[in-house]
Amino acid sequence: MTQGLEMRSVSKFYDAGSERITALDRVSIRVEPGEFVAVVGPSGSGKTTFLSIAGALLKPSEGEVLLNGKNIASLPDKQLSDIRLREVGFIMQASNLVPYLNVLEQLLVVKRMTGKVTPADKAFAAELLADLGLAERMKHYPEELSGGEKQRVAIARALMNDPGIILADEPTASLDTRRAHEVVSLIARAVKSRRKAAVMVTHDERLLSYCDRICRMEDGKLSPMEPAAGSVLS
């Protein structure tokens, strides 16, 4: 059984009036556990559609999406939410945290969605947060956190259910350079140490050095891109 994420000639069409818009055009990609792939491209190129399909938020019009060897392309909505809960960790654009939960509860609520919260879950959440340098902030609410801290909480939340794949959607959109580096390096580290298949959609070229591979999305087509020559590694 193949681990990680695999997409086989996935297409997505939208009907807009009499026109048929191709948002994704026969996209194929394979991301192994422990691999961190960046997808770059201009806005409107289909990056978000790509991420939505990979993350079981959207069904493709054609093609196969394999999460840990399981084809999710044609599953009903109910099972898709289960797949999202157990197999996918989302890191979304800045501050998509629940405003009335403190940092620890942000993580535990994910466990609550599956049922009961055990002491082991609490210990795991605390470990994740400590790992991301948030040990001191566990009882704080999102409004008391900086942008970088919020994104680190989002990373921890994405890892909470020990999913097979991590999907990051412009995780640095609202961060300054230093914090953006900090956040992406943390994602990269977690991906390596926890053996996750990770995809980050970004238009922030400064951060590509953290990724193992870079793909370019243009007009719904995905193509591999050589790492920028002489890119700085921290």
Binding site: S52, R86, M92, N96, Y100, V109, R112, M113
Partner: protein, 373 residues
Amino acid sequence: MFLALKEMRHSKTRFVMIGIILVLVSWLVFILSGLGNGLAALAASTFKNMDADYVVFEKGSNASMGKSLLSGDLTAELLALPDVEAASPMGIIFGSAVRESGDPEEFKLDIALVGIEPGSFLEPAAAEGTGLDAGRPTHVLANESMKDEGFKPGDTFALDGTTEKLTIAGFVRDQTYNHIASVFIPIETWRKLAFAAPGSDKGLKDPVNAIMLQGKNIDPNAIAERLPGTETVTRAQAVQGISGYKEETGTIFMMLGFLFVISAFIVGVFFYVLTMQKSNQFGIMKAIGAKNGFLGKAVISQVFILSLASIAVGILLTCGTAAVLPKGMPFRLETSWVIVYSLVLLAIALLSSLVSVRTVVKIDPLKALGRVE
């Protein structure tokens, strides 16, 4: 429950504000129901507390005591009918009691004189003093409220406009008719008072207003067939026939009905707006795997907690109100009705929250990615 409580703790002000509205609504519901009960009791408790199942009136009287006149002889005929276990005549007139104390202000108290046969099933048990006795035709049983006006057992009062004097043999509880105190008197005495004017008895022998029957299986139609010129109704129908009773209770129930509708909209609209405001948040949670059930439960339990707390506060406030209301106010809170109205309010709140749940179900998790393509 977890999400619901966390959010309520975090945004106290908005939930307290809506809670206050719900408290006021439930408070008003309970006060109105207490007032409705009190008024209904005041209007008809003599009827309601009577141990009778059916009432026989004169045909065409619309179940109204005032319009009905029957011969007391019918009592024996009714007793002979199948399913009639007991029958006893009754009559009601209104009068004014004048205290025998040389009161310079000529104190008068409106009373309803209820004529019954001493010792019959219509005679209420005396809470104080003794009951009626056919051998003492001017000794009466009066409602307790007359005590508040200074009457005591053994007191004698005159009836305004007559030469008759009545003595209070004892007091009974919860006996009022048409909002005034009932005074039970032997039916012979009652006849003398009621038909003092010649011809007012229409020539009937031993005239009475109505005959009360006991017997669960009585068939009113059969009685109408056997005794033409009568109409038989249940006791509840007879209560409805008391003048002003329907109008009074109808007004209260209409207000209660409006309050229920209002509370449905308050809860429904508040949580709908709240849900719309949070649709992005719900989208995020759906994106990370929350099922509709999980989020729907959060909304419903929020409504449940809020309504339950508000209703509880409403009940406390109502009890407080009942304690400070003046004694003469017709306010009677019955536990059973408080429970019923609480459950109705709760059910209405939960039902109206379903609108919000539907909204939650419709939210697209793609919203979380910030731009739906």
